[in-house]
Structures are given as C-alpha cells and as structure tokens.
Symmetry: C2
Amino acid sequence: MQYYSYEMFREDMKELVDKIDFNPDGIVAISRGGLTMAHFLGIALDLRRVYTINASSFFNKVQQEIQISNIPELGGNQRILIVDEIVDSGTSMEKVYSILSAVNSSIDFKTACIFHKPTAQFKPDFILREASDWVEFFWEVDVVKSLREEQK
Amino acid sequence: MQYYSYEMFREDMKELVDKIDFNPDGIVAISRGGLTMAHFLGIALDLRRVYTINASSFFNKVQQEIQISNIPELGGNQRILIVDEIVDSGTSMEKVYSILSAVNSSIDFKTACIFHKPTAQFKPDFILREASDWVEFFWEVDVVKSLREEQK
C-alpha cells in the first residue's frame, strides 16, 4: 500500500504543468478520480473550461463494464486534455477517449494521469508515476480516516 | 488577504460531513471552484454520483452576467447537494440552484459552501466560514506561486 499525500500531488502538478507541451483549451476530468487534478491544472494552466464526464464500472456476469454518462458539450474547443488519477486496467480512460473522439472529430485529445500501471491496456500521453502497488490518495483517506478515528 | 490551506480544508470537510443531515444521492460541483470540495465530499459521503455544472461570469455593458452550461442529467436522484467554494455575490449559486430546480422538479436540492459573504444575495443551507476578506485557496496558489518562483 502506497500513500499519496497532498505534498506529493502538489509537486506532481508542477511537474505535469512543465510536461504538457500541448496548449489545451480545456480539461475533461473523469469523475470522481480526476476532479482535484483537473481543478489544480485548470488554474495552473489558466483554463476556465474544466468539464467532467462520469465513468462508473460494474461487473456483469462475464466481465467488468464501464458506463459513461454526462458527456460534456465541447464545441468551440480545438485541444482538450483528459485527466484521471490512475490508469489501472485502462478501460475507463480508453472508453472516455474513444467516446469523446467519436463525438468531436475535429478536437485533438491528449490524456494525462498521475499513476499508470504497466499492465494497463491504455497509455496516456503524460504519465507521472508508475503504480506497482495499491495507492491511497489523500482525497480518499485524509478526511475519512480521521472521521473514523473520532468516532471511536 | 486570507490564505486557505489544505489543512484548513481537510478539517472543514470533516465538519461539513458532520453538519450535512440530508443524505444526498449525489453532488453537483460548480466548476471550477467546487471541484476539489465535491471530490472529497463524494468520497467521505460514499457517493459515486459526483456531477459538475459550468458557471462562468462575464460583464456585459450594464452588469455581471452568469452563463450556465453543461447542465448534468440528474434523473434517478431524489436529493442532490450543490457545492461551491465561495458564495460571494451569490449570483452563480442562485442561478445554478434555480436552473437545476426548474429542470428537476422532483429533486430536493440543498446547497453548501466553504466561505460565505454576509452581503451575498443567496444563503446556502450549509456554510463553514464567513469571508470578510479576499480568500486565496490552496488550489489556486500552491502550484502557481511555486512555479513562478522557480522561473525567477
């Protein structure tokens, strides 16, 4: 288990801003995982157009399925960066990328993530870290763990 | 000028989770300001349905106008919490609240913010702090200021 702190994230976002040689008009966050990342990047890159898309995974009888909803209206943009916190199997980001590209054929999409698993079937354009272990993100545990401890 | 740190935010989110006696099915973040807040609350309240709506303000010849776009599809929800980081004039949250209520007459909406200005024309149901001064949020300055210093 690997804890990913706010301090690590803050340094990573600086590095990502330096890496992105793409000049996007807007950002699409995959909700929920990409929300904090999109918020910070939107401000650091001075982009007011921060959109989200919902991807929820569920298991049917045979395999994992990804359901995509709330596809944002991206008209007026030329370059869009899609972000998520972790690309694990890669199915979420691949599906979001495919759907957004199909709906917006004139937009150039690039993708970014904080953690990437080497076994993923999708490789984003911008990757910050390799995930070898289960990652506990600060937005997942800092509030929840502390609330649990208070209730004891 | 008041700096709002990650540590303050983390404690505030714990307080907000305790305050919310509402049992929402989902959260709508006003983008960009409410994104990090919605991410943390979505996880702390165990809600996968975290949506966003875009509100951008611009000045026409006479007054400030708020343009709302990417209205999320909220079908299937009974109770929704709308969140933003600060309610300043109150026009953004009021407009988002009105539009979402008009489109979804069967949904019960409640609203939450971190900072509220006493002069605002809209008062959310859940408020954490009163804003007497300009607030610098950690998501606005922690990455940007540090990038600027490195470039010097």
